[in-house]
Symmetry: C2
Subunit: 693 residues, 2 copies
């Protein structure tokens, strides 16, 4: 427990530095007139949506807490703290994002690209540092308050569950909101009326800008918050259950190691933030890409002394290598996404080229590359997983499994910098939108567009990172699930392995059903987006028809109504998929027993990784192919090729920003629910009740 001050300090520092950056952003001038007016609309819309969304989420979370309390009081308390932590981190992050956008626009107008970049970057870092700071600090605080016992650690898993619950609803709701608004506003505005994107005449334009914030800021933040705390806590659970059996009193060092890696991540993120600068006229995408490399290197450097002092020279060195493996796997997943979505690489260019023969080949070629983008990350994660196991397995089987979970922690130690870079995207996107709507000059828009473009590269990298880390976190949860079974049943390792063999009919049965869950989840989210978009389309058409003056700038569109409609629809449609994710593992566990459920978890994780990578990458490939055509290739804007590319982009939008990212949480949430309820499922399931097995 000697490392606790360091961990608490890192967590507190993360939060304080986030608040300092928030103060920095808020004290920048936001200008006046039109740009502030638009900014105000976005802020109000985002606040209104989040108020609704969090009300629904916290109601559901309270109900779940009430169910958990009788099972384990501490777990119930941890659960609600987890839910609140996620809400607070997400809300603060989004609050600053919607305030940073207009200030970025104003700085671009008054001070140029360097200052504008700084505001946008600092605005994004508030979310990134809140995520890692709050997560690290509160896990450490719980460990201290509950006492550093194995029972206490097992209760802290409730914290992950709380974070998952918020993440799921925030990702799904935010995803439905942002894509319904985007697709709806585009289909009537750009396609039917021929007015440009972000045009103030479009009644859906504010909803679209709001969507970027509630989806890509609050939703994505909750997602990575969940992965971050999930990887840490599942590693701790393995230490408190299976490792404890081997080393007794030494277990606590193994339990604390992931927290120290997280602390290293916080320090590294803060240091890295000083390197993200650009000279006047420079390219802002370079420092952003570089930041991941710098941050990863710093984490590795900090981790080595921490790991060896906790675990001794040999085990510490091995743990250090495992953390580095996780970092490398994360970077491989990110770079692969970059390859498949970068306009200077073959996939995007080929999709743009094929668009010359019409939308069918845009879609087909895109699908082909989307499926191809799965292989390298899968191999990267497979190698990291196997080598992580082999590194620590010499100490005993469960140390190897601990290694797998620790690799996830290593990957997620990048969360601070990845979330920061990702949250930068919506800020600059909004800043460009505000510049457009306020009709600022060409020179200002050139700067905001450049900042926006830099955000796009990071977006696809962080999308790949989010699903890759989710899969590794889910594997860590599954490892914790297995060690919990060992702990609860008292069975031997050999017996548990035997029961978890896919030579068993229940395991295969579970795998078949688990495989279908990410697919059906995708269906539910896509249909929710397209239905919501349809409703918004009708509203926009109605406004254009009833107020013909809107198109001639003579009447003002009713932005508020469009925002309200998308809000209520997104809230309505987020409940079903959310409950599906929580209830399905319980149903599978009841019908097929804990080992059948294990099969389902593995299959859902594996197919979820595939569908998640596929959807995220294919969406960004289409998006960038469209942008590539818009730069003037193959006929440029307005050509038939462009029309085909726009269809690809529209198809990809909900895949990359709604259904794809929701799968990240589905697989994590299913696993954490299983870890918590396995102690009940082991005794109460249909097979046991029927005395089969």
């Amino acid at each position: 427990m000697d490392a606790m001050p360091l961990i608490l300090g890192a967590g507190a520092l993360g939060i304080l530095y986030a608040l300092f950056l928030a103060w920095y952003v808020l004290r920048q001038p936001k200008g006046s007139g039109k740009i502030v007016e638009i900014h105000q609309y976005i802020k109000e819309g985002a606040k209104a949506y989040l108020k609704h969304q969090y009300a629904v989420i916290l109601t559901i979370a309270t109900l779940i807490m009430i169910i958990l309390l009788p099972i384990n009081v501490l777990m119930g308390i941890s659960y609600i703290i987890g839910a609140l932590s996620s809400v607070i981190a997400g809300y603060v992050g989004m609050w600053i994002a919607v305030n940073a956008n207009v200030r970025t626009t104003y700085a671009a107008k008054e001070k140029g690209v360097g200052k504008a970049l700084r505001i946008a970057v600092n605005g994004g870092m508030v979310l990134g540092l809140m995520v890692v700071g709050v997560g690290t600090l509160l896990i450490a605080v719980q460990l201290i308050l509950y006492g550093a016992t194995t029972e206490a650690v097992k209760s802290i898993i409730g914290y992950s569950f709380g974070a998952s619950t918020v993440a799921l609803f925030a990702r799904v709701g935010g995803g439905i909101y942002t894509k319904a608004a985007d697709v709806g506003a585009d289909l009537v505005g750009k396609v039917e009326e021929g007015i440009p994107e972000d045009d103030p005449r479009n009644p859906g334009v504010i909803a679209d800008n709001v969507g970027d914030n509630v989806g890509d800021v609050a939703g994505m933040g909750a997602d990575l918050f969940e992965s971050f705390v999930g990887s840490i806590i599942s590693t701790m659970v393995i230490a408190a259950t299976a490792i404890y059996v081997y080393v007794k009193s030494g277990w606590i060092n193994w339990a604390i190691l992931p927290l120290t890696v997280a602390a290293a991540g916080i320090f590294s993120s803060i240091i890295t933030s000083f390197f993200i600068r650009v000279k006047e006229g420079g390219d802002p995408s370079k420092p952003l890409t570089l930041s991941t490399i710098i941050s990863g290197t710093l984490i590795a450097i900090f981790t080595y002394p921490l790991a060896t002092s906790l675990l001794g020279a040999d085990a510490g060195l091995r743990a250090f290598i495992v953390v580095v493996l996780g970092l490398i796997a994360g970077i491989i997943v990110g770079l692969t996404s970059d390859y498949f979505t970068n306009p200077s690489k073959r996939p995007v260019r080929k999709v743009a080229f094929m668009s010359q023969s019409g939308a069918a080949l845009t879609i087909l070629t895109g699908l082909a590359y989307g499926f191809a983008s799965v292989l390298i990350p899968a191999i990267g994660i497979a190698i990291a997983e196997l080598v992580a196991y082999l590194m620590l397995a010499p100490y005993g089987f469960w140390f190897g499994i601990y290694g797998v979970a620790l690799a996830a922690v290593g990957m997620l130690s990048l969360a601070g910098i990845v979330v920061s870079a990702d949250a930068y995207g919506p800020i600059t996107d909004n800043a460009a939108g505000i510049a457009e709507q306020a009709g600022l000059g060409e020179d200002v828009r050139a700067i905001t567009d450049k900042l926006d473009a830099a955000g796009n590269t990071m977006k696809s990298v962080s999308k790949g990172f989010a699903i890759g880390s989710a899969a590794l976190t889910a594997l860590a949860y599954i490892a914790a699930y297995s060690s919990t079974i060992l702990d609860v049943t008292g069975l031997s390792l050999e017996k548990v392995k035997e029961l978890m063999s896919f030579l068993n009919a229940t395991v295969i049965s579970g795998s078949l059903i688990g495989m279908a869950l990410p697919a059906i989840f995708t269906t539910v989210v896509i249909l929710a987006v397209s239905d919501a978009a349809f409703v918004l389309i009708e509203e926009i058409r109605r406004q254009f028809k009833e107020k013909p003056g809107i198109l001639e700038f003579k009447e003002k569109p009713d932005y508020g109504r469009a925002v309200a409609i998308v809000t209520s629809y997104a809230i309505k449609r987020l409940i079903t998929p959310g409950l599906l994710a929580i209830i399905s593992p319980l149903l599978i566990g009841f019908f097929l027993g804990p080992y059948g459920l294990a099969g389902a978890l593995v299959a859902a994780t594996i197919t979820g990784l595939m569908l998640g990578l596929f959807q995220g990458n294919v969406g960004n490939t289409w998006d960038n192919a469209k942008k590539y055509v818009e730069e003037g290739h193959y006929g440029g804007k307005g050509s038939e090729t462009h029309k085909a590319a726009v269809i690809g982009d529209t198809v990809g939008d909900p895949l990359k920003d709604a259904s794809g990212p929701s799968i990240n949480i589905l697989i994590k949430l299913m696993s954490v629910v299983s870890v918590i309820f396995v102690q009940i499922l082991v005794h109460y399931n249909l097979l046991t009740l029927l005395s089969i097995h």
Copy 2:
């Protein structure tokens, strides 16, 4: 061995009845003039392609045989017999199909719908009965010639491998051919020049018609031939390895049972064929759908006495129930595909409705339903698998596993009737094409169109059946793989289960890589189709440009060149995916050992089932949504809605007819290769060489 005369008799009867039906078809008049000329083109094109394709396949097969002979002489011999069996069944089936098309057209012109239906149905049944007749007869003959020993049965697995090899290349090559021709001919003909489908002015029209035969007849026949013999032989292998340990001399009855179920299938198919009749003016789709139900019922009735006489009252009853479970699972998979692709059901109608808002929503809604179509078949197969295990598990663990494989045999006992119904499709499709190209009257085309429409329903049902049965067959192979490991290593069941646990890092590692294989396979096939289509498009454009008289019926297009171009391209592009499928399990097995490979096989099967069902169903949903619009809904032909629906259809074409079906074989071929080489992989793999584990 008392059942052998029955089995040999059934096999021989199947072949003889197929030859009788072939004679019946060939003796029908084919008319004269234009229709015969077109038919001649199709026949020549199909023959030329198959000659090329089989030359490549048999060269590769000979090389593989040479590798197998030193390992096991009988297995090498079985291998080449398996390859030749598949080639012969496929070639005869296709030969009759290309002769039945013109005779169907002529009968529609001279005699009406009843006679035309009979010719088309009988033409299709030639392939169906060849597949089941040749398979059943030759497995039985090998068993007799090799002697009914466990070693002999283990060698017969070579027969499956031979069948898989042909199936893979035939499915991939046929799929690339048919879809490149279809997409290429449509994009220039329908979209650019505005001439109707099957118009004789289109230089690609014959290639399109040829494609239906080499893809949907020869390719699909080889696919189901593989599943059919694969399910039988893997069940026999489990009997000869694991069941043998329990019951010694009694094992042979368990080994023969799947052959008797196959025999029951042959008798049932022949009897069922007498029920497929339609009165003048009647609807030909009803008897086709009904045939599956009749055939399934007959198989169940025949199986009961056979199973009880082989295994005794109790085990026989249980085996009977398992066969029925397989049949029901097959029907559930088929009916689900029907629901998602039937124009009278919600999915097709909603896709058509959404097409009013443009192609993006056509694609998105289609994707959503495609993913949804996975759930019910997955649950159906999961339940069948689990209950099949539980039925026979009271006799011992491996009897339960045998049950899983036997369920696959039950499902595949429908192969005769399913293949027949599926081969009916291209015959009537070609018949309608010939009527169109020859400019026959409205009344004749009304009949051929009606026959064609009936074929479409069956096509989507049999597509679902093909992937569902492939997954169950792959599970049977994986079971045989496990029992072979037991047999080769002499390890205890508990130990093998333990090693195959996904708590092991190699198993998870293998699963991650196995998951990516169906995805990357999809990529390779889609890109091959779109590249081949591109080449054909250029050729068609060139012909239109150099011979402007073609479009005014003044010059004749060069059909032969188009056929030759697609042929050489399809042949060139079938080799890479084919070798990929054969080599990947060997590579995975070498790097991750036999248990890591087992993880890869399970993951590839599960994700293959998902991607296969998804691609097959989404393609047919789009196809039928387009047809629904063409019937006059939402603006009908030529409307903006129709254009959107056509884009959906074009995207779906390669998914449903090339990449999707190829996955069926990928998962089977990977598994059978693994069963054969596991005896080597157990000893020679990187982990063993490095002394890890």
